[in-house]
Amino acid sequence: MSLVIQNLTKIYGEQKAINNISFTVQTGEIVGFLGPNGAGKSSTMKIATCYLPPTSGRVLVGGFDVVEQPMLVKQITGYLPEHNPLYLDLYVHEYLAFIGGLYGLRGARLKDRTREMIELCGLTNEQNKRIETLSKGYRQRVGLAQALLHDPKVLILDEPTSGLDPNQLVEIRKLIKDISRDKTVIFSTHIMQEVQALCDRVVVINKGELVADDTLTNLLRRDGKGVTLLAEFEGNVTAQQLSALKGVRQVTVVEGFKFRIATDGEGDLRPEIFRFAADNNLSLIGLKQEESSLENIFRELTAQDPTMP
């Protein structure tokens, strides 16, 4: 069961929310869906769950078209909406039983699945409480339990870990990882560690445009064309002196005598800088290799304006 998005465009009135994006999520894959706020993540997910129609383009969930066969799509999809709407006046078990009923679960099977989900999502002590009395983290779990209840083949989670405390974060991530073995999962998030912990692949969109669709390792490598060093001196030294060194591509002043040195990436430049300091009788008080983290990549990818050439 795969999720295929082909040339999807969504226009709200005058505003183009999604502009001709295409990507595919294969069975068993966990894909992180990233992008700044308002990039079109939620809109894409709403289209994939048949809540909103696409302006143009196609979305196929498990081979079914969201416009032509919405009932079949809905039946195999589990969806956790962005703000996790719940019926606050219902009890947890009652709510899950209602949702299960909507998917056609009946009798013993409905009971079993409800119990399983309550255990899986750690709601055993909360199952006899009204949803309105639960904290944000527990409500999020109820939302997740609801999305998983009918054993969907495709899981679409819109910011599943928002509002959770660090312990719950770890638990929910583990939960997503565990259940996703034979499922197709796409989830949006703003937390980069989460992407690193969960995803096989990352799709990044910015202002409705697809800016990256690659595996995590490739993305991290992509930035590795030049390693960046952070060097701090105590005494008087100029950027020109540093630029003269072999292998240095660019030097920028961070503050005072602290420099960010971009290298051309061939060999480690740190011994070179150390020798430079020793030769000129300077005190080198800091020398660090900057990790090119996913956060930096994210910032780089989404900083550029896609409408500019």
Binding site: Y51, T77, P85, L86, Y87, D89, G101, Y103, G104
Partner: protein, 242 residues
């Protein structure tokens, strides 16, 4: 559809709504039919249930919108519409589930008033001197009237996320379709076509039923109005797909 219906009906029973609605309806009807001298059967001296059937619709004008106002408005506000729309349910499943849950509650409120019929039946002189056919016709008329008001109420609830707006719109529209056309027909302006204008309103058909004659034309009229209101509501629900 049944899952939505039972969930909606349960939430009526789990909140105060059901008890307040049934309680207020029965209390007001009890007072009007048996206690207040101006409308009381006992003071009137004739064994009929005219009071229930003439005042009942006006009580419904306020009570039914109170039941239906939350149905869609609340879900819109809480965002749970998205939840329902992404479950394997058609728009009709959602709409009819909510409609019949409200209707069922109103009909439940009506059932205890059958005791009035029995009481008046026994009080008649001679016993049983009551126009049974007329009463039954009126009951069917009132039940259908409640069905129309529910459809109007569901429609009003669908057009706004604000429950108070939904209530006021529903009450106004219900009043308009019930007796508005009747009042309009008295305008000088229509003169020759007054009857046709009158026939557009619910009151004309309701009165014709309360004579004890179930005319297919009246039933068709009620059902058409219900169908029309629900179809418009369906259209509005579907408008997210435009």
């Amino acid at each position: 559809m049944l899952q939505v219906l039972s969930k909606e009906f349960n939430s009526f029973l789990n909140s105060l709504i059901a008890y307040v609605v049934i309680g207020v309806f029965l209390l007001s009807m009890g007072l009007l039919v048996w206690v207040f001298p101006e409308t009381s059967v006992l003071d009137y001296g004739y064994a009929d249930m005219e009071t229930l059937f003439s005042v009942g619709p006006y009580v419904f004008v306020f009570l039914v919108p109170a039941i239906t106002m939350r149905s869609f408005a609340e879900e819109k506000k809480a965002g749970t519409m998205e939840l329902l729309f992404t479950k394997p349910l058609t728009d009709w499943d959602i709409l009819l589930g909510k409609y019949f849950a409200s209707l069922l509650l109103v009909w439940f409120a009506l059932i205890p008033t059958l005791v009035y019929y029995y009481s008046i039946y026994r009080l008649g002189n001679p016993v049983g001197n009551i126009d049974t056919a007329g009463v039954m016709g009126s009951y069917i008329g009132l039940a259908l009237l409640a069905a129309v008001f529910c459809a109007v109420g569901i429609f009003a609830s669908c057009i706004t996320p604000n429950q108070i707006v939904a209530f006021i719109v529903a009450a106004f529209l219900s009043f308009l379709v019930f007796s508005g056309f009747d009042s309009l027909s008295t305008l000088e302006f229509w003169s020759a076509n007054a009857l046709q204008v009158k026939q557009l309103g619910l009151l004309f058909h309701y009165e014709s039923m309360s004579r004890g004659l179930i005319d297919a034309r009246d039933v068709v009229y009620f059902v058409s109005v219900i169908f029309l209101m629900l179809s418009i509501t369906k259209l509005i629900l579907g408008s997210r797909q435009w």
